[in-house]
């Protein structure tokens, strides 16, 4: 598939020398969902702002659908929808007028049927004539999404779309995102919720200190970097790990009834067979055995702390 968004060596420096983006390069394919993970101040919002035209990049190039965001800004921007992190809305305006305004601003002719469909999908139709200031926080966030969808973008940026949104609503939003993907919309979302990236992303990018540390297929990332744990539950607690098992570098749970063995799924030999044989030889009785895959969050924390050190 062709890249719909192509970023090469994008840099942003501020007066005083602070470098918010240090040469970011990234290719995003049409129709995929990319989750950008990174700690606060990593440059996620700066990157999105530079692509969308809210700030001027110091150097580098961005192509959206093959159009340069500076030279062909009209063609490039008309493909982009942006849901900002902050709830930036005109408080006294009615929901429907605000959404219609967004469509008009992007040069699209009025389409009431489409606006109705979007508002219904986001459960805002009943609130269409309410002033925005009367809405709850979650509803305001959905108004921002409705505004971005109103001009039918091909690339949608969601900057922390579910921050401060309850679990149920978050799941609803994931459904909307999935539906957009099914319609061929490319989605780039930044998030603090790793479970969000895990649940909906195709690829995961990790950004820290203004640099992309890696971009990988989510499943591949989890298999490659993921560590697994084998938990061996014993019939009863033991005071300490038997000497015969010292080579396996086990941990003993605080209750003393579970041996925890961490192994790398990339390795040719996991060492499980040897471990289980040694456990049996040591005369320990087993109650249960289970395995646990490390989450994206574990991987993320590992990467970011590694990148900073």
């Amino acid at each position: 598939m062709a890249a719909i968004l192509s970023i090469s060596d994008l840099r942003k420096s501020y007066e005083g020398g602070f470098e918010a983006l240090k040469g970011v390069s990234l290719e995003i394919e049409e129709g995929e969902i990319l989750a950008l993970l990174g700690p606060n101040g990593a440059g996620k919002t700066t990157l999105i702002s530079a692509i969308c035209g809210i700030i001027n990049a110091t150097s580098g190039q961005v192509l959206v659908g093959g159009y340069c965001i500076e030279k062909d800004f009209r063609a490039a921007r008309s493909l982009i929808g942006l849901v900002p992190q902050e709830i930036n809305l005109e408080p006294f305006e009615k929901v429907i007028n605000s959404v219609r305004f967004s469509r008009g601003l992007f040069g699209k002719t009025r389409n009431d049927a489409l606006i109705e469909e979007i508002l219904k999908k986001l459960s805002l139709w009943d609130k269409r004539d309410s002033q925005i200031k009367e809405l709850s926080g979650g509803m305001k966030r959905r108004v921002l999404i409705a505004k971005a969808l109103s001009h039918e973008p091909r690339v949608l940026f969601l900057d922390e779309p579910t921050a401060g949104v309850d679990v149920e609503l978050r799941k609803d939003m994931w459904e909307v995102v999935q539906e957009l993907k099914d319609n061929g919309v490319t989605i780039i979302l930044t998030t603090h919720y790793i479970e969000e990236a895990e649940a909906i992303a195709d690829r995961v990018g990790v950004i820290t200190g203004g640099q992309i540390l890696l971009v990988k297929d989510k499943d591949e990332l989890m298999t490659q970097l993921g560590q697994k744990q084998l938990c061996v539950q014993l019939a009863g607690p033991i005071p300490e790990i038997p000497k015969a098992l010292a080579d396996h570098q086990l941990e003993l749970s605080t209750e003393g009834d579970t041996l925890i063995y961490t192994y790398d799924t990339k390795g040719e030999r996991t060492g499980i067979t040897a471990l289980l044989n040694d456990v049996a030889a040591a005369g320990l009785q087993l109650r249960d055995v289970s395995t646990r895959q490390s989450s994206l969050e574990d991987i993320f924390v590992g990467l970011v702390s590694g990148g900073q050190s």
Partner: protein, 253 residues
């Protein structure tokens, strides 16, 4: 040109105006009536005529200019400052619109509102005094150009302002004194000779003089000079806006 976008901005801004139509309408009517009571009836009754015109009628062009200039500035500066303040400016910046289109939308709406208020004041004034407009087309031209140029100036102030205090600063400290000292309520010929010379440095003098000429056929300075002054002022504002557009000053980091 993205006309749909310009129209959307214009309509959105006008919508804000219509939401508060009562205040928008009532405030100029009330202030004009007060000016007529104070200057027209109370003080004006002691002044016979100025340049052969009843004092009550004489102050009408100045009154209209006073309101139109301050309204144009405050409408346009607030119009662009408010999105900056509440953060909705992100949408303008990320939309496929040029800065020129944003300016046309905001300045057009601000000028329309000021024009509306100018017409309301004119209508209110005609209830108090007999008015005949000798050059209606010239009157309209001066009115529209003043609305536009001062709305452009207001737009610049709105971009420049970093807080609400700054938003009020220029209208309060610069524009209001210039308008009051620009011959709104008197003819320059009534001033001592030295002040007649000094006052010619006040650009507002030329606007009020030209506007007054379109009503009564007489003016403090030649009409051509007035026209040149307002054209020059409009060009200056357009130049500054062009520079803002080129550099992204205080809009795009």
């Amino acid at each position: 040109m993205n006309w749909t976008a310009i129209w959307s901005i214009y309509r959105f801004e006008m919508h804000r105006f219509f939401r508060t139509l009562f205040q928008s309408f009532l405030s100029p009517v009330l202030s004009t009536s007060l000016y007529f009571v104070v200057f027209g009836a109370a003080i004006g009754s002691r002044i016979d005529q100025v340049e052969g015109i009843d004092y009550g009628a004489f102050i009408v062009p100045g009154l209209i200019m006073l309101s139109v200039m301050t309204q144009s500035i405050s409408n346009a500066s607030f119009g662009i400052y408010f999105p900056k303040f509440i953060g909705t400016v992100y949408e303008l910046l990320s939309a496929p619109v040029s800065f020129l289109e944003i300016v046309i939308g905001y300045v057009g709406a601000a000028a329309t509102k000021a024009l509306f208020i100018g017409v309301v004041i004119l209508a209110t004034a005609s209830l108090f005094v007999d008015l005949t407009i000798q050059h209606p087309l010239a009157m309209l031209l001066f009115l529209v150009l003043t609305c536009l140029s001062f709305a452009l100036m207001g737009f610049i102030i709105g971009i420049w302002a970093k807080n609400f205090e700054q938003l009020q600063l220029v209208p309060l400290l610069v524009v209001t004194p210039l308008v009051f000292l620009g011959g709104s309520f008197y003819s320059i010929s009534m001033l001592p000779p030295i002040w007649q010379k000094i006052t010619l440095f006040n650009p507002v003098v030329y606007l009020i003089s030209g506007f007054r000429w379109s009503f009564f056929g007489s003016s403090d300075v030649p009409v051509a000079v007035s026209l040149m002054a307002i054209t020059g002022f409009t060009a200056l504002c357009l130049g500054i806006i062009w520079w803002i557009f080129k550099t992204g000053w205080r809009i795009r980091a």
